[in-house]
């Protein structure tokens, strides 16, 4: 009996502590904010920078916490399971749509409240230097040899796969997709084991400069600031191609409006800071700040596009 009494008194004390915490939170933020990061690589590097930047403008510690796995599913699930307080935010991306349409999580983008978009990354199509002069030569070859052109992707249903599908649909050709896991595109191209690959420009830039690989086209409407020499698909006559990977901040739906506003304001200040601009040039991403309303529209529009595309590719579950 004594033990039961002890345990219950501890529980009561704990619940009081926890309770007082949530009541004290009338001024946001009154404690640290946890930012879930879904991926490694550039997503993580930029995420860590953004967390540091928010910290300065928000007046509270922002802790970036890695919750990788399942193409973002594990991290989204975590946020979905947390209270909608604004103390748990996620460094999100188009993966919010791919995880849902790919059947990895049972909830879609509407589970989250958009806060602000921060950046975009533009995939580019690259080939080995000397193999194809431009996109038309590549298209002509692929038309003559349907299903012969080997295109490297990170994996089925990955963003590089979806982008490739959009590009080659626009060219009107059938190709052979090779999944090779993450990040090996440059070597596979150099060795001639694959003919083309869609990846982030940072992976190709140095090889392009050295004349070993050639970036043929970018998939954004405007040219990429860090690689102004690469034409866009739209310039090359494929008007419908517009795919970019956006990254931004979101919280769980139902988070108090003023909490979202506070983070949004901090994000806005950081997005135009010299540090963020310098980082964008070094790491190779574009700054693209959108407020919560515009960001919400962007997510919804992208979700429709991605859902349709994955359905066409037979990846929708």
């Amino acid at each position: 009996m004594k033990i039961v009494k002890k345990i219950s008194s501890i529980l009561v004390a704990m619940s009081l502590l926890l309770g007082s915490n949530s009541f004290a939170a009338d001024k946001f933020p009154s404690k640290y904010v946890e930012m879930t990061v879904l991926f490694g690589g550039t997503a993580k590097s930029v995420g860590q920078l953004v967390a540091k930047g928010l910290e300065k403008n928000l007046g509270a510690t922002v802790v970036p916490v890695s919750r990788p796995g399942g193409g973002g599913a594990v991290g989204y699930k975590y946020i979905q399971s947390r209270p909608a307080s604004g103390y748990d935010i996620v460094w999100n991306s188009n993966s919010v749509s791919t995880t849902f349409h790919g059947g990895k999580v049972p909830f879609n983008f509407k589970t989250f409240a958009p806060i602000a978009a921060m950046s975009i990354e533009v995939p580019v199509l690259a080939v080995k230097a000397g193999s194809f002069k431009d996109i038309n030569e590549l298209a002509a070859y692929a038309k003559k040899n349907p299903g012969k052109l080997k295109v490297g992707i990170s994996g089925k249903g990955a963003f590089t796969h979806l982008t490739s599908a959009i590009i080659f649909d626009a060219l009107g050709v059938k190709v052979n997709y090779i999944s090779y896991g993450k990040g090996k595109a440059p070597t596979e191209l150099l060795a001639g084991r694959i003919d083309a690959a869609v990846q982030w420009p940072g992976q190709f830039r140095s090889f392009d400069k050295a004349g070993q690989l050639k970036m043929l086209a970018a998939t954004s409407p405007k040219r990429i600031a860090s690689d102004p020499g690469v034409p866009t698909m739209q310039e090359l006559g494929y008007k419908k191609v517009d795919v970019t990977m956006w990254r931004g901040l979101a919280a769980k739906k139902g988070t108090p409006k003023d909490h979202i506003k506070a983070i949004e304001a901090a994000a806005k200040t950081y997005a135009s800071s010299p540090e963020f601009i310098a980082a964008s040039k070094k790491i190779g991403f574009e700054i693209n700040y959108l407020d919560s309303k515009a960001f919400g529209k962007k997510i919804a529009a992208d979700d429709k596009k991605i859902g349709q595309l994955m359905k066409n590719l037979g990846l929708k579950k």
Binding site: G69, G70, K150, G155, K156, G181, T187, R205, S206
Partner: protein, 509 residues
């Protein structure tokens, strides 16, 4: 070249860089040495601090952490039989056996010395041959890597101790565990039972912590309950002697060979430390001519520490090749270093050597400095760290228990990983009881993903033609090595059976 060297020297010969190297080495050793904390974690924690540093300082901090961690992993492998990092898993068998014999300081000293030699020689090889090695690395496509990994699997023969059958069972168990989670190539979910958390699969480190640490903890507690430890536990004098010059002379040849092996495997993107260490271990065992010496492998042969430790540190030099010349990180640790390089405006790739040569040389300097500092730290550290053996085993086990629970959580900030760690631990204990060795399970976990994804990528490249695995000299060469390993093993087992039969016949007569 000379002015680049001088410029690089000016960048690195500052007080800040010196402090960064010391701090990084120290943090790396500590994180590498504690089972459950990894140097990848130390790197991830350090990265945000480097944002505001000078490039040379920040990068030196990261590199020193990496090198300290790679070396530190052997400490817990030797002292308590739990590898601090996957690369140190091959060191456990002989290192821990030596510690039990009271030779911990010799084993630790040997590990530090050969780690430094291996790391520095691999760096020299890399500096001299970077062009050649990066061309060689490109030749390794999915088919070649598949064959290399398959060859790595043949080391099960050496790890299986008494029964090859049990070794193979263990290896296959490891492979099966690795299939849980999401399949990156097809985006398919496997054995997740509709649970979103399960999509993350079984993490190698989590499984390794569970498999090695939990059975150890259980054993110690059981002994305590049965009052066996009072009888067995005798602290005595913990020796702190270090291996001398004679030792280096004796094993120098082996160290050189393992360094070559480690450097070449490090240069191949997507393989890395554990394969190199396991291959080096089986090489040391197979190249031992004296049958009596050969028999002592797994029971405390110092060569079983020397070979994997030289090889896994040689990987650090090799891994710089794909990292710097191709921009391809070989493992999670180098991926974090890549992030650090990018933030400081150092973009790896062929142009790095042309446009930013001083940066490359400053990286070399930082690595050399890190090895020297790590060496000095560790040599002085051994005296104190071996004292850990004086702690009562059950006290130590309590500390380990806390570290492994915290450690398995922080790898991916996932509570599920704690449960997986405990499950894997109980599984490991069960395997111990039915005399199935643990190390091949880890080998299966380490190599499982690489063997599967490379096989499938190769098959899709060739549109399903198996001939792709025999279409290059490299892959055929590995195939022949595999055949040779298996043939030798079969021969050995047949001879053993005959010997036993003869003895049995004699006994019957």
């Amino acid at each position: 070249m000379i002015e680049n060297l001088i410029a690089a020297f000016h960048m690195t010969a500052t007080l800040e860089v010196f402090f960064a190297v010391c701090l990084g080495s120290f943090a790396g050793i500590i994180f590498g040495a504690i089972p459950g904390l990894t140097y990848s974690m130390a790197l991830a924690l350090m990265l945000p601090f480097t944002f505001t540093m000078e490039p040379a300082t920040g990068i030196s901090l990261l590199l020193a952490t990496y090198i300290g961690g790679m070396t530190g992993g052997s400490i817990s492998a030797i002292l308590i039989g739990i590898p601090g990092t996957p690369s140190a898993a091959a060191t456990v068998a002989d290192g821990y056996a030596l510690a039990k014999k009271g030779e911990a300081s010799i084993a630790l000293g040997a590990a530090v010395i050969v780690s430094t030699i291996g790391g520095l020689i691999s760096l020299i090889i890399m500096i001299l041959l970077v062009d050649f090695i990066s061309k060689f690395a490109i030749k390794f496509g999915p088919a070649e890597i598949f064959m290399l990994v398959l060859f790595g699997f043949s080391t099960i023969c050496g790890l299986a101790e008494r029964s090859l059958f049990r070794g193979l069972v263990a290896g296959v168990l490891g492979l099966m565990l690795m299939t849980i989670g999401i399949d990156e190539l097809e985006g398919v979910q496997r054995f997740t039972f509709g649970n979103v958390q399960m999509l993350q699969g079984v993490n190698l480190l989590v499984a390794m912590i569970g498999l090695f640490a939990v059975p150890h903890i259980l054993e110690v507690f059981l002994q305590r309950i049965n009052k066996e430890d009072k009888v067995n536990f005798d602290v005595g004098e913990v020796k702190t002697t270090l291996p001398g010059f004679q030792f280096i002379k004796k094993y120098f040849n082996l160290v050189l060979r393992c360094t070559g092996l480690g450097t070449s495997i490090g240069a191949i993107p997507g393989s890395g430390g554990p394969i190199a260490a396991f291959l080096a271990y089986s090489h040391a065992k197979n190249s031992e001519k004296d049958p009596k010496e050969k028999d002592t492998f797994g029971k405390g042969n110092i060569a079983g520490v020397v070979a994997p430790e030289a090889a896994n540190n040689a990987v650090t030099g090799g891994a710089m090749v794909p990292l710097l010349s191709l921009g391809i990180p070989g493992d999670p640790a180098t991926a974090i270093i890549l992030g650090g390089l990018l933030i400081h405006g150092i973009v790896p790739g062929p142009m790095l050597f042309i446009e930013n040569a001083p940066a490359v040389y400053s990286i070399y300097f930082a690595i050399v400095a890190a090895y020297i500092v790590v060496f000095i730290f560790q040599v002085n550290f051994i005296k104190y760290i071996v004292k850990i053996l004086k702690v009562q085993p059950h006290h130590l086990a309590c500390a380990i228990l806390i570290m492994v629970v915290v450690g398995s959580y922080v790898i991916r900030n996932s509570f599920l990983d704690i449960y997986i760690m405990i499950l894997m631990g109980l599984f490991g204990y069960f395997l111990n009881r039915i005399k199935i060795p643990i190390t091949p399970v880890v080998l299966g976990l380490v190599l499982g993903e690489a063997i599967e994804s490379n096989y499938r990528t190769a098959m899709s490249l060739s549109s399903g033609e198996i001939s792709i695995f025999f279409s290059s000299i490299v892959s055929v060469l590995f195939f022949l090595l595999i055949i040779l390993t298996i043939a030798l093993q079969v021969k050995k087992r047949i001879l053993e059976i005959r010997k036993q039969k003869n003895q049995f016949d004699k006994g019957a007569a």
